[in-house]
């Protein structure tokens, strides 16, 4: 018998002949790819819009400058007023980092797959296994109670790093994984990791370098033990298979000060700062998402110079509202398409088809949108679908039996005549144009009138 090494290439080629591509998969695969590209572009746009509406609370929480960092001089810029080099965290880091991926994960759960994703502690354990590389049987988790913002902090540790029985030593470091339901918020909603912070890794500064081509990461291990080392992974985009820059920082007890070259493909990065023991096991990690310099584009402009956030609207909703206004103003069909999932979007009397060709045929159907979005919205909880922000508020009035002066003024602003208002009063309901965005920022419907 020939040696295995010699015959293996032929054997593998022979085995690979078992499968041939199914031509019917080409069209749906390419459709998904084109949608993903549109959504990726949209995600960048939305993230940048979030600079205006956002703030730096998330980054402040993840990169506390108040940490005492031996040997380094943490500058206050990460927690000071927004400046040219400040960064804004993205909404999620693992496993889903785009609205499309989140929707797909939710669909999988709704179909009965991966039920563990509805449990924040189990999702945190999966993060420990997949990102930190811990053996499943070694992962210990303790979930906290949900915060007022709906997030849950899950403390994880590696039992394999605890002192052996009968020996003494420091306990395994704890890492707190923060999770949120970024889509549905009921018992069947998927949980996603939005960040991680360990008691071991103390970050003093994380910011875009002054020349805008990379990140500066400064920090130290709060409990540096012999031969524990630090490394940084920077994922240059929002998907886990994007290029990752790996920087080994060694084991200097004085701390680390790293400049990591970044050329993000979509204007975002996910940063993971690891601490390793001498065996190469990750003992703890900090992880967070940031906006960063993108390849071929300039760094984000200074924050705080755009429009103020819409009062009462969550950031994703406010960002989508603005993106809709921008897209309609420019009749930018690609931009509008990127805000929509044709499988779930409802327009006119249709459901589940792509509205863009229809709107392109007759753009005037979009004319009422700016006026609609100028009015206040109402929040509607729709069972099985989650929270919707619906414009105008008149949709939620329930009855227009009596039309107040304010309502009449607003109805006129929507271009409705007194005769049409009278029809609505007689019908007892608002029948004008309306638009809805769900809590994740996905544009869910636009009905120009009627029904």
């Amino acid at each position: 018998m020939r040696d295995l090494e010699d015959r293996l290439p032929d054997a593998l080629r022979d085995l690979s002949g078992d499968v041939v591509p199914d031509p019917s998969q080409e069209a749906p695969t390419l459709r998904r790819a084109r949608r993903r590209r549109a959504l990726t572009a949209s995600a960048t746009a939305l993230a940048l819009v979030a600079i205006v509406a956002g703030g730096l609370a998330g980054l402040r929480a993840l990169a506390p400058s108040t940490t005492t960092t031996p040997g380094v001089d943490p500058t206050p810029s990460a927690t000071s007023s927004p400046g040219p080099t400040d960064l804004v965290p993205l909404g999620a880091i693992w496993p889903e980092t785009t609205a499309e991926d989140l929707a797909f994960a939710q669909q999988q759960i709704d179909e009965g797959h991966q039920p563990w994703r509805t449990d924040p502690a189990m999702t945190a354990e999966a993060f420990a296994v997949n990102v930190l590389g811990w053996a499943p049987e070694d992962v210990v988790s303790q979930a906290g109670t949900p915060g007022s913002d709906g997030t849950v902090a899950v403390e994880i540790s590696n039992a394999g790093l605890e002192p052996s029985e009968g020996t003494s030593g420091p306990p395994a470091p704890r890492t707190v994984v923060t999770l949120a339901q970024l889509g549905r918020t009921d018992a069947n909603g998927v949980w996603t990791v939005t960040g991680a912070q360990s008691e071991l890794v103390a970050l003093g500064l994380v910011e875009v370098s002054s020349d805008g081509t990379g990140l500066q990461v400064v920090g130290a291990l709060s409990d540096p033990r012999e031969e524990w080392t630090v490394a940084i992974d920077v994922y240059e985009g929002m998907t886990s298979d994007d290029a990752v820059t790996h920087v080994e920082l060694g084991s200097d007890p004085e701390g680390f000060d790293a400049d990591v070259a970044v050329a993000s493909i979509d204007g975002s990065v996910i940063v993971v700062v690891y601490a390793y023991d001498p065996e190469g096991t990750i003992v703890a990690a900090d992880a967070f998402g940031l906006l960063a310099p993108a390849a071929g584009v300039s760094a984000p402009e200074p924050t705080g110079t755009g429009e103020p956030p819409i009062e009462g609207l969550p950031e994703p909703v406010a960002a989508t509202r603005q993106a809709i206004l921008d897209g309609v103003a420019a009749l930018d069909w690609d931009a509008l398409a990127a805000l929509i999932d044709p499988n779930t979007f409802v327009y006119a009397f249709d459901d589940g088809s792509d509205p863009i060709p229809v709107w392109r045929e007759d753009p005037s159907v979009l004319d009422p949108i700016p006026a609609v979005l100028e009015l206040p919205s109402v929040v509607q909880e729709i069972e099985g679908y989650g929270t919707f922000y619906v414009w105008p508020y008149l949709v939620g009035e329930g009855s227009l039996d009596e039309v107040s002066e304010q309502e009449r003024t607003d109805l006129h602003a929507l271009g409705l005549s007194d005769a049409q208002i009278e029809e609505m009063r007689a019908a007892g309901a608002y029948l004008g144009p309306r638009l809805a965005i769900d809590a994740t920022g996905l544009w869910r419907n636009y009905v120009a009138g009627g029904d």
């Binding site: 018998m1 295995l4 090494e5 293996l8 290439p9 054997a11 593998l12 080629r13 022979d14 085995l15 690979s16 002949g17 078992d18 499968v19 041939v20 591509p21 199914d22 998969q25 080409e26 749906p28 695969t29 390419l30 998904r32 790819a33 084109r34 949608r35 993903r36 590209r37 549109a38 990726t40 572009a41 960048t44 746009a45 940048l48 819009v49 991966q114 563990w116 189990m122 354990e125 999966a126 296994v129 997949n130 499943p136 049987e137 985009g237 998907t239 886990s240 298979d241 994007d242 990752v244 050329a263 493909i265 979509d266 390849a295 584009v297 984000p300 755009g306 921008d326 690609d334 931009a335």
Partner: protein
């Protein structure tokens, strides 16, 4: 201030995407099959890989290296799949090892498929990339995101296990 992809590029890419799919789909599917040993799973992974890579085609720094990006994505997706399955099994306490009862009637091809299936996913990926894709250790290390020394170890241990499995059948 808002960064978006150039729309002209999106239109231009339409035909190119079709060509890329048709050119690489057979190789991608075969690689995914060798990595997973499961025809249906290989089809799913291949489609997901195309969606991911074609979905950001304009962002690729070197578009001529499309196969390189696609191969790396298939390997990543395959490894992620097996990691996820391992996690699920542990949590749901459903783990059960199929007894390795040799079937005297199976073909050499099926023996090879079964033997590959016994390897750890990382070992299987390293061996497939080495002996099917004919990559160097450095290229395998890049594709798997591990150190070159780790590749050497993965291939060595994987081959030892493979010999063991196949010799039982011989």
């Amino acid at each position: 201030m808002v960064v978006t992809q150039p729309r002209e590029g999106v239109r231009e890419a339409g035909g190119r995407l079709d060509e890329l799919y048709r050119t690489h789909a057979p190789d991608a599917l075969r690689l995914a099959y060798l990595l997973t040993g499961d025809r249906g799973l290989a089809e799913d992974l291949t489609q997901d890989a195309f969606v991911k890579v074609l979905g950001r085609f304009h962002d690729l720094r070197n578009r001529d290296a499309f196969w390189w990006y696609l191969r790396r994505t298939i390997v990543n997706l395959s490894n992620s799949h097996f990691r996820r399955r391992r996690v699920e099994r542990a949590w749901l306490d459903r783990q059960h090892v199929e007894p390795g009862v040799p079937d005297p009637d199976v073909t050499d091809r099926e023996r090879m498929r079964q033997a590959l299936g016994v390897l750890r996913p990382e070992q299987r990926a390293a061996i497939v990339l080495r002996y099917y894709e004919d990559l160097t250790e450095a290229d395998i290390a890049q594709a798997l995101g591990v150190a070159p020394g780790t590749v050497k170890s993965l291939v060595s241990r994987g081959m030892a296990r493979l010999r063991e499995e196949l010799s039982d059948d011989a």
